[in-house]
Amino acid sequence: MPEHPKRIGGLFPRNRDRHPPPFTPGYRSSVVRAPQFSLVSIGASLSELTGPVFGHDSIGTDDNDLTRNHAAKDGSPIGERMIVYGRIRDETGRGIPSTLVEIWQANAGGRYHHPGETYHAPLDPNFGGCGRTLTDDEGWYEFRTIKPGPYPWPNGVNDWRPAHIHFSLFGQSFAQRLITQMYFEGDPLIRHCPIVNTIADQATIDDLVARLDLRASLPMDLLAYRFDLTLRGRRQTYFENTR
């Protein structure tokens, strides 16, 4: 039987005030899917402090370029071409290297490539809307894509999603796992969105808004937006001494 390691660095407790609560009636889907009981707090054991690791062999060359990874040989998706980039770090500010970042989004017309999608905006034959990459040694990631369109959705009678990109992140511990959404600076639909407004605090919402970054743009080709993300941090450096 493997011996238990002597030093275990626990994760900082999750600050639940920053996250949406489970039950948010303004976002109607949450009403039947929100647990009624409180979460049961248990310290993270090795089962949660460890997590899956992904190698470069699991990522293809074009996986982070949504302008190419579903396009015909001479095709290209319609929409504003852009770079989305940023840094993944933990709450101590350290970049998280080699962690998997996955994104998915609607096309420029606000239509998802999904059998359950009902919006009548057209599919774009050159756009699939998903991508993935690994962060570099300092935690940086980059995608190329097109700007997703806003779209109406069945919630209230006239609810529209602001343009957004879904992000899925891993970190090094399974208890750091996070899925969230990125919005775009200046979008007037952000403040009207019932999903955005599941978060109570305006400053916290601002952490989900990517900023236009002209300096990182490629002239005559792609605009850049910067979006940094933060995962839970650990008190100890137990694992990092063991690499």
């Binding site: 889907s29 054991s45 997590g51 709450e91 879904h166 399974f174 899925i179």
Partner: protein, 206 residues
């Protein structure tokens, strides 16, 4: 770095939405060609994996009893010897033929998920006590504002379960059955998850 105030704060969660499978299991929604090979997490085992091979299937039910058909289920578990397949593992050499991590979308029509895996070995708790064999589950999807974490235990490890620090530490032991899979034939287990209401599954924070 012991105080909390000087830290930058965790990015807030947003629901994974109804189209999470586009990003996480693209081949399930007609985007098989977008990434080379299989969806990440599609398989945990190979022919060389050590340990007793099992399957785990189940559904996720909402508060009305309807199966969630647009959800995402991930599992993470130790190998046959109780070791995790990560370079951070210091207690021994994990089975290189077992990834420990699996990911499936719930079926778009039936809501069923299914994993082919092995029974994990036991892993120690903070204080050195041994935990019963268990599989960590993480669930995301439409209507779930922050991913939900739970555990699956095995019905045929009653003695281990009776001494497990998590199960024995629950304030409401009547909820323990929500964490224990049901036998579902030879080497097969059924683990349903109830998001809300009667027999609501225990969800954890760490």
């Amino acid at each position: 770095m012991t105080g909390h105030s000087s830290h930058i704060m965790e990015t807030p969660s947003q629901t994974a939405g109804p189209y999470v499978q586009i990003g996480c299991t693209p081949s399930r929604v007609g985007l098989a060609g977008i990434n080379p090979g299989k969806d990440l997490g599609a398989s945990l085992v190979s022919r060389k994996t050590m340990g007793r091979r099992i399957s785990i299937t189940g559904q996720i039910f909402d508060g009305t009893g309807k199966a969630v058909r647009d959800g995402l289920v991930e599992i993470w578990q130790a190998d046959h010897n109780g070791l995790f397949n990560t370079p951070l593992e210091t207690r021994g050499k994990p089975d290189p033929h077992f990834t420990g991590w699996g990911r499936q979308g719930t079926d778009l029509k039936t809501g069923l998920y299914r994993f082919e895996t092995i029974v994990p070995g036991r892993v120690s708790w903070h204080d050195g006590r041994m935990q019963a064999p268990h599989v960590t589950f993480w669930i995301a999807g439409r209507g779930i504002n922050l991913g939900l974490c739970t555990r699956m235990y095995f019905p045929d490890h009653q003695e281990d379960n009776a001494a497990d620090p998590v199960l024995t530490g629950l304030e409401h032991p009547t909820r323990i059955p929500t964490l224990i899979a049901a036998p579902d034939g030879d080497d097969a287990y059924r683990f349903d998850i109830v998001l809300r209401g009667r027999n609501e599954t225990v969800f954890f924070e760490h």
